[in-house]
């Protein structure tokens, strides 16, 4: 594009906090671009780069602002001329202020009357003149969690700023930010290339820095890190264990990544591998390696930030730093495994869970009671459920969980396995914490589900009992997370296990078990879970098969898929109005309604339901009695009544049928009311003069509506 130039801005700093660095740089690019465009400078796409020591953006920008017409409005024509049509002092003053003769001013008509205006064509300024203030504003607009001051200055940024490069193609744009003047000199790697790196042209930025051992493009750096560790792992014949957090952090703390293959004493492998991996990944940013059987090996990879003259020295350093950490972990593991898990229950009785709710032992006992009752419904053994519940918090008393709090549950499981406890119980001790965050896996086995549900029931009831209900963004007891986890398990778990859990009844039981003088209201708890269920259900995609299967589940929950249907918020509200006690049943109703809405008769039926609701509300009619056929005067009434009788029976029969099909079959039957209802409304005046007649017609409508309200509140659906 002619007239376009490449802008490069690099802010050179001391080592920046890695968190959000990418977002921050993108935000910087966006702020600059938006401000340029707002100033009338056409821009192309912007790129953003960063390393621990720099934030940089680069993009195509027009050479200068577009020319623009600047219009200034003066006095109204009324105020600008006197009775003789001569310019008043107001008009003369305005003309002077814009440097024009009064006669040269134009007049424009507006809603408020005619005004004098002055128009002037203003040529666009070169973009370089706009940049200093735009860059300063853009940097000031960045969302920084903890900016700092340094030296004697008043400037604030994430870390002290040392250099500033601002180039348009090959020209330096004079600017000053954070007390630093712009130039073309960047800096290379802190140790490999401490001297300045001149950037001859904005387009050469990445190349010149690469020569100075800096990979400024985070994508290139991640790619290099991947190549480095993949190659090192391959050399060792092992596979790397990485996750996004680790990769992201590695990429944000190096400029010139090199992999160093290291190893530790294989004797440490007797410690649970989660502990060793957590030490390596979280504390040291090392990459663990697994063997062909998926077991942790005694080798690992560290990512250094230089081409060392002697990488062996770094290897020895990495190996030395991990040794005392592993030795500590092994010491704790040996101590912990020597104590039977159940023996920690005594200690749990001394740890306060919450002042109003007693100790952790008290909580475990409440969870045990709930789990025992829940187990047969979920398909687990009540005895095991009780045992698992009583063991479920014992690992909190171990040294290892003290050191690695993120491994609570996992440590319990590993100790239980080591002590040869029931494998299903061992698994549940870890799995009941799931889902720990949105998108986490769910507990799978019936015992794990039982414990996961029982634990959250008690947490919620306890939280409400202790007055810790979340307000605004404050949720000290993480009750929202508990409710969301509960809702997810109860709609997304295997229906074989969760399909019959009566949430309202169990919230009642959990509430009654709380040790507080006044018990929380189970219905308020149910509402709270429903709020979380809403976001869960609205994000679900359901696959509803075309043909109704003879048996089994009629809906399949999918993450996403081309043929997937979504549940709308109106459908959610229509079902929620009925407060279904079983959340999976909630899902079935919602799925059936979504399927029904594609029926051509659906809209008419929803309309009819809304109409009936309105009429009954206005009439204040609460009759439950059937209409008296003797009082029918119109044929449409008789036909509707006959159809209601027939379809009501069919719908009732369907609702007693297979849980997975009942709502769809009932709705299929109810759809046949569309015609008779339509005819009724066309031919019959409900609110007629004759009171007896009117009441009979209202009763007929109430009878027609009733079977719909067994499934959902149809009047809340869009139609």
């Amino acid at each position: 594009m002619s007239g376009m130039r490449t802008l490069l801005v690099e802010v050179g700093c001391e080592e920046l906090p890695p968190k959000d660095l990418g977002q921050l740089t993108e935000c910087f690019a966006g702020e600059v671009r938006n401000r340029l465009e707002a100033a009338g400078v056409p821009c192309g796409e912007f790129e953003s780069f960063y390393t621990p020591r720099r934030l940089a953006i680069r993009g195509e920008v027009a050479e200068r602002q577009s020319d623009r017409v600047v219009e200034r409005r003066g006095p109204s024509v009324k105020a600008g001329r006197d009775a003789q049509g001569r310019p008043t002092p107001a008009l003369l003053g305005f003309a002077r202020s814009v440097g024009a003769e009064p006669e040269a001013l134009e007049v424009v008509e507006t809603e408020k009357g005619a005004f004098f205006v002055h128009r002037r064509e203003e040529p666009g300024r070169p973009v370089g003149e706009l940049l200093p203030s735009i860059l300063a504003e853009a940097l000031a607009a960045l969302p920084m969690v903890r900016p700092m001051r340094w030296g004697e200055g008043e400037h604030r940024f994430l870390r002290p700023v040392h250099w500033l490069v601002v180039l348009l193609d090959d020209e330096v744009v004079a600017a000053e930010l954070f007390g630093v003047r712009s130039g073309r000199e960047s800096r290379g790697h802190r140790f490999h290339h401490p001297q300045p790196v001149p950037i001859p042209h904005a387009k050469e930025y990445l190349d010149r820095l690469r020569e100075a051992k800096v990979l400024a493009d985070p994508k290139e750096r991640s790619e290099r890190i991947r190549e480095e560790y993949t190659q090192a792992a391959k050399n060792a014949g092992l596979s790397p264990v990485v996750n996004d957090d680790l990769l992201f952090e590695l990429e944000a703390i190096v400029e010139w990544p090199r992999a160093i293959l290291c190893s530790f004493d294989a004797a440490f492998l007797r410690v649970p591998e989660e502990v060793l991996m957590s030490t390596m990944m979280r504390n040291q940013r090392f990459i663990p390696l697994k063997n062909g059987q998926g077991r942790l090996s005694e080798r690992f990879i560290g990512i250094a930030n230089l081409d060392s003259k002697n990488p062996e020295e770094i290897r020895r350093g990495y190996e030395r730093v991990i040794r005392p950490r592993f030795a500590d972990a092994a010491f704790f593991w040996d101590q912990d495994r020597a104590v039977p898990l159940a023996a920690h229950r005594e200690a749990l009785a001394k740890v306060v869970y919450q002042q109003a709710l007693g100790t952790l032992a008290d909580k475990s006992e409440r969870v045990a009671k709930l789990a025992e009752e829940l187990a047969p419904i979920v398909g687990a053994s009540p005895e095991r459920a009780r045992e698992a519940a009583l063991l479920s918090r014992c690992d909190l008393m171990t040294r290892l969980v003290g050191e690695f709090p993120e491994l609570q549950g996992t440590i319990g499981r590993r100790i239980a396995e080591d002590q040869k406890l029931d494998p299903e119980i061992a698994e549940a001790l870890e799995a009941f914490y799931r889902p720990r965050f949105a998108g986490d896996a769910l507990p799978l086995g019936p015992l794990a589900i039982t414990l996961a549900v029982a634990d959250r029931l008690d947490t919620l009831a306890g939280g409400f009992a202790a007055g810790l209900k979340p307000t605004g963004n404050k949720d000290p007891f993480a009750l929202r997370r508990a409710a969301a986890g509960l809702a997810r398990i109860l709609v997304r778990g295997n229906p074989k296990h969760i399909g019959a859990v009566d949430l309202r009844a169990f919230l009642g039981k959990a509430a009654a078990l709380q040790p507080t003088p006044s018990k929380p209201d189970p219905e308020a708890l149910y509402d709270f879970v429903l709020e979380r269920l809403r976001s869960e259900v609205l994000s679900l995609k359901l696959e509803v098969p075309e043909a109704l299967p003879a048996d089994g589940e009629g809906i399949v929950v999918l993450e996403k898929g081309p043929e997937a249907g979504e549940i709308s918020s109106q459908t959610f509200a229509a079902v929620a109005a009925l407060r279904p006690p079983i959340l999976f049943d909630f899902l079935r109703r919602a799925a059936a309604i979504e399927a029904f809405r594609s029926d051509p008769r659906a809209e008419a039926l929803i309309q009819a339901n809304k109409r009936i609701r309105n009429i009954l509300r206005k009439a204040g009619e609460h009759t439950v009695a059937d209409p008296d056929p003797e009082r029918f005067t119109e044929e449409a009434e008789t036909i509707l009544w006959q159809e209601v009788l027939r379809i009501r029976d069919a719908a009732e029969a369907a609702l007693k049928g297979s849980p997975s099909l009942r709502y769809r079959q009932a709705l299929a039957a109810l759809a046949e009311l569309a015609g008779p209802l339509d005819r009724f409304f066309t031919e019959v005046l409900v609110m007629c003069e004759d009171e007896a007649l009117r009441r009979n017609r209202l009763a007929l409508l109430a009878a027609a509506e009733a079977p719909f309200r067994e499934i959902a509140e149809f009047s809340l659906l869009p139609g």
């Binding site: 080592e15 700092m148 802190r190 140790f191 560290g302 350093g317 030395r320 991990i322 005392p324």
Partner: protein, 299 residues
Amino acid sequence: MPAPSFQELILALSRYWAEQGCVLIQPLDLEVGAGTFHPATFLRAIGPEPWHAAYVQPSRRPTDGRYGENPNRLQRYYQFQVVMKPHPADILERYFGSLEALGIDPLVHDLRLIEDNWESPTLGAWGLGWEVWLDGMEITQFTYFQQAGGLECKPVMGEITYGLERLAMYLQEVESVFDILWAETPSGPVFYRDVYHQNEVEQSAYNFEHADLEALFAAFAHHEKEAIRLAELGLPLPAYEQVCKASHSFNLLDARRAISVTERQGYILRVRRIAQKVAECYYAQRERLGFPGLRGGRA
């Protein structure tokens, strides 16, 4: 270059930072948890007067004691502390220069600055900075003070805290702190164990088993009261020593587990309150004196 002994390490750092313009001062003669408690850091971070100093500070962390049985943990260890206010723009480069002076080649070793934001709840102080990693091992804390005693630090003090034992272990390639060579002497080598092992054993016993709880609670209350009284008398320096003593009494009580989790926060707030009061008193005092440090001479 052969690895420096522990005392050579202290000498080398002292010489290096003296050459950078720091006043070499001596440890505070009170029990404190870190070099930051020395008035040469905490009080000098307050107010506009320039200040550049370096010193070794024995640091006591009663809960970290392991009766001399853990190769990496001590209830009393040494920090080498450097403070520069205002800090020179190239303070980081100067710091890396100090490592080179110790024989650490930055083109061989992996030297990294890992974000670490420091906060002392008891001193009402915080700053932003890094842990310095040498081949993955933390050897230094680097902090740009932003607040001390609840007061904004203007200009900003740069604080460098070397963990001397860590650094010595790394340089001498020993796996236990007690194997650190303290000095070669004509009568043979002297090791860290010879100097301090028995001290770890006995002090751990005192910290965990024998410290007199009743006397410590009383001491805490007394020092707290004294700090307030002295600050009100316009004597911030002795008042500040009372803050240090209160803080150490709290640390001992903590090691004896005499303070419950719920009470703990309350004690921390009490220390913070007196630290804040003394900090304000100190600032007022310096202001009254006309900030003598600004006139060239150091008061």
